[in-house]
Amino acid sequence: MNENRQIVIIVTIMIIGVVLLAKLFMIQVIDDSFLRRAERNAVQRIVDYPYRGLVYDRNEELLVYNNPVFDLMVIPKEFKVKDTIRFCELFQIEKEKLIEKYTAAKKYSWVKPSPLIKQISTTDFARIQDYLIDYPGLFVMTRSVRAYPDSIAANALGYIAEIQARQLERDTLNYYSQGDYIGHSGMESQYEKILRGKKGAKYKMVNVRGVDKGSFKNGALDTASIAGKNIQSTIDIALQKYGEKLMKGKKGSVVAIEPKTGEILSMISAPIYDPNLLAGAAYGKNYKVLVTDSTRPLFLRPIQAKYPPGSIFKVVQSLIGLQWGVINPNTTLACNKSLVACHNHPNPVNLFGAIRNSCNPYYYQAFRMMINQEKSTNTYIDTQIGLDEWHTAVEKFGLGHEMGVDLPYESGGSVPSSKLYNKIYGEGRWKYSTIYSLSIGQGEMLVTPLQMANLAAIFANKGYYYTPHLVKAIDGENGSIPEEFTVKHEVGVDAHHFDMVQDAMAQALYGTATRAIIKDIAIAGKTGTAQNPHGEDHSVFVAFAPKEDPKIAIAVYVENEGWGGRAAASTASLMIEKYLRGHVERPELEKYVLIGNFGD
């Protein structure tokens, strides 16, 4: 009876076995999503953060270093305190605070560490270090924040902060992760890849409660972090500090360059802020204050502010005119004030006199000779040809385009070509009378303080420049710097044309900027006034010194301080003296600048 039913049972058993094995095959062999989920479960990647590279000045003094801060961590499960009062005394924490922090830690996790006291200073840490052993469940986690011993060069150095969402999106190599620090501006951003080093990773296994269970595969996949490289900057701490002192309470820029190399000795953007404000715990609060400040301290004036070059551009006009042979040192033109306004000076003037006295009508006429060379019988076309040739020549002076300084967010300024005027007025509908403002550095022309300083360097070098830069050496790369900073840029004007220009600039001081004259140091300089439609004009001065063997070229902008001969020239002169002598022997002038009352 029912003997055949044993077959049914055997078959059923087999079917069950096959079904189980098939399902097991599916989840174990075919579907590998479980494997990935398992690793996400149990393997934790602990990032080993590298030591960020330091930044030194040109004399190997520290500009930026890493300051260790210590967070006292607690593991609630292991934490035991017998005498709470003594503990509070030792660790300088109020009892209420301790209870509050401990409760929060317990709430977060019983077995995982939470911070108990954050950002303990090095001195406090040294004090409590010995007592730590008496308290199980406590340990110290070291982090580091950027620190600036002299609190200077905030704009050039930049700052580091947590990476932003859109930066993370652009990070296609997936180097960064949420919460990582990254250079946000200045050299910190430009040399991010050099300074940051290389993150390492340790893989460790954790159990379901997140408790450490040792290294994964005995550390076979672990990588050690590689510390970032140190960078030597071209900045001169002493000069930078002095410049920032002079610019305190003012708005404007100072850029000082070593003409022979293009190395930026000092770069100041005023109003100045302490770079330490953007390092460490108070970053968020301080950043908000700075970014909402109406004087815009985070605006990188030396490379982002654009002003009309003004009178200083007359020197460039002279050089191009000389090179083209349109004018020569003996070209004498009348100071015809009906063409363009001018001030009183000997009349008529030759080129030397025109530079020395900054004669506007001279350049009105000289520029027309340069632009309208009668290469076409049509005035309009002739002007267009002339302007474009001039545009090409001017661009060689590093104007009208970004210079390529090693800082992010550089502005290029602008030098108009026929394209611009065709756009504004239409082709064939503008001529010299439309564009004559360019002759004296006004009109549709803008330069940055950095470009202006570079002009001073070109005048000093008699016709060439190196792209201004802030990096002098990178550790471990045989001191070599990016190649683009070793390329000599010729401006296309023969050196001998500069001789007379340099003499005129040296002489100009006696007319327009007597305050700038330094005993025993020959300075060549030119004042300028950048017209400001929003208020008082900006005071501008460029100079280089010593005239015979230039070691420093400088451009100074002081906003809303009017004529260049006062605020800007005085500041520039003091900077030059400071750099060349190492000290300043003119306390009166220094006081004048520090007080900052340039009105008379």
Binding site: M1, N2, E3, R5, Q6, V8, I9, I10, I13, M14, I16, G17, V19, L20, L21, K23, L24, F25, I27, Q28, V29, D31, D32, S33, F34, L35, R37, A38, E39, N41, A42, V43, M205, V206, N207, V208, R209, K213
Partner: protein
């Protein structure tokens, strides 16, 4: 006989080794359980084979009494009173009642007049099974109680009419479908279509058409009522059913067990991570991993190959038992043999199914693998009584005659 003792020994050894190294705290205890299990085997093998026959009804009665007392004097664990605590060891009477019930069933069915095609005897058999089930439900321990339904496999072999099984399977199929398919309308359409086809295919007598239509309507009604019934279940059981059909519904909450269990097994791959290399099970991602979820450790560390070996061993053991049962000379031994098969098959099927998400999570152990004295002892007793009976099958026959 030697063949499947070897199988048992192999499985047994693996369990011992795993216990010692994997669960340092539990391994010691498990060794004690294994030792005593060996002792039990010796006792069973030495004891007179007639004892089991004679004692069967007494044992059944004793265990029913214990089960009756359990809900009152048992120790409460996870809301169940299923355990007795004796010293530091805990025993689960529900586990041991299995072999007593099996013996009682064998004793009853042994009677020559016993014929499962008659409702009277069907009712008797059902009663023997239902009494322990209802007592265990009082604890309440649904998993263990469910195991007793496995005896229907034995009853099938002994002549329970086939139509009951067809109806039961149909019932299960409809239940699963209506739980799995969100919209019962689909099922209703399917049933209507099927009914129409069946009517058209066969003879078109009025009687037949009416009965088919009634069955169809009953199925549809059932399918709709099921959702209602499920909503009335205790919430933890509702969750377990929901998780079965959609494990990702709440992977950190109700789906945690199944999700983690599947991750552990699934991460084993083909060859496994290697002995003691499992990360999921070693670091406690899978709960209850030394008892009900023991298969996770195996699946993770030995991969599909390890699973294959274990599943194949179980299948081989079960089929071997079928052959052994069939060669018994007495109906008592054969019935008991099939009882053993039924229980083992049910445990094996349900336990592995739940670890890989084919069945809702119910707390029943994997025979000879899971940690726990009660289950090891009860499976040992269950199996070795049958071995003892088998070794005396000639004498048994003689006595019968």
């Amino acid at each position: 006989m030697i063949g499947w003792i070897n199988i048992y020994a192999a499985v047994y050894d693996e369990q011992a080794a795993k216990s010692i190294f994997d669960f340092s705290i539990n391994s010691g205890k498990q060794l004690v359980w294994i030792g005593t299990a060996v002792l039990l085997i010796t006792v069973i093998m030495v004891a007179d084979y007639r004892l089991f026959d004679n004692l069967s009804l007494i044992l059944y009665g004793v265990f029913l009494l214990i089960l009756l007392l359990t809900p009152f004097i048992g120790k409460e664990i996870n809301g169940q009173r299923a355990w007795f605590e004796i010293g530091s060891f805990r025993l689960q009477p529900g586990e041991f009642a299995k072999f007593a019930t099996a013996l009682a069933l064998a004793k009853f069915i042994e009677k020559p007049s016993f014929d499962l095609s008659q409702p009277k005897y069907q009712f008797q058999a059902l009663l023997i099974i239902l009494i322990p089930i209802s007592l265990i439900m009082l604890q309440p321990d649904t998993g263990t109680a469910m195991v007793y339904t496995a005896f229907f496999i034995m009853l099938y072999r002994e002549g329970m009419p086939q139509k009951y099984y067809v109806i039961a399977l149909l019932f299960i199929a409809v239940s699963l479908l209506s739980l799995a398919v969100e919209n019962n309308l689909y099922i209703a359409f399917g049933v209507v279509a099927l009914t129409v086809i069946l009517i058209l295919m066969g003879k078109k007598t009025w009687q037949r058409i009416v009965s088919f239509v009634l069955i169809g309507i009953a199925i549809i009604a059932y399918s709709y009522s099921l959702d209602f019934v499920v909503s009335k279940l205790p919430s933890h059981q509702q969750n377990r059913i929901m998780v079965l059909f959609n494990p990702d519904i709440d992977p950190l909450g109700v789906g945690w067990n199944v999700t983690q269990s599947k991750i552990a097994i699934g991460s084993g791959g083909f060859w496994g991570k290697g002995y003691l290399e499992g990360t999921q099970t070693k670091f406690d991602f899978v709960p209850e991993q030394h008892t009900d979820f023991i298969f996770c450790t195996l699946g993770e560390e030995f991969g599909w190959i390890g699973s294959l070996v274990v599943v194949a061993l179980f299948v081989a053991l079960l089929i071997r038992l079928v052959f052994l049962a069939e060669r018994q000379k007495t109906r008592f031994s054969r019935v008991y043999g099939y009882c053993v098969i039924s229980i083992l098959l049910f445990h094996f099927m349900i336990n592995i199914s739940m670890t890989i998400g084919l069945f809702p999570v119910v707390g029943i152990p994997l025979p000879f693998f899971s940690y726990g004295g009660s289950s090891l002892w009860s499976f040992t007793i269950l199996l070795f009584i049958f071995i003892k009976l088998d070794s005396h099958r000639i004498q048994l026959l003689g006595r019968m005659n």
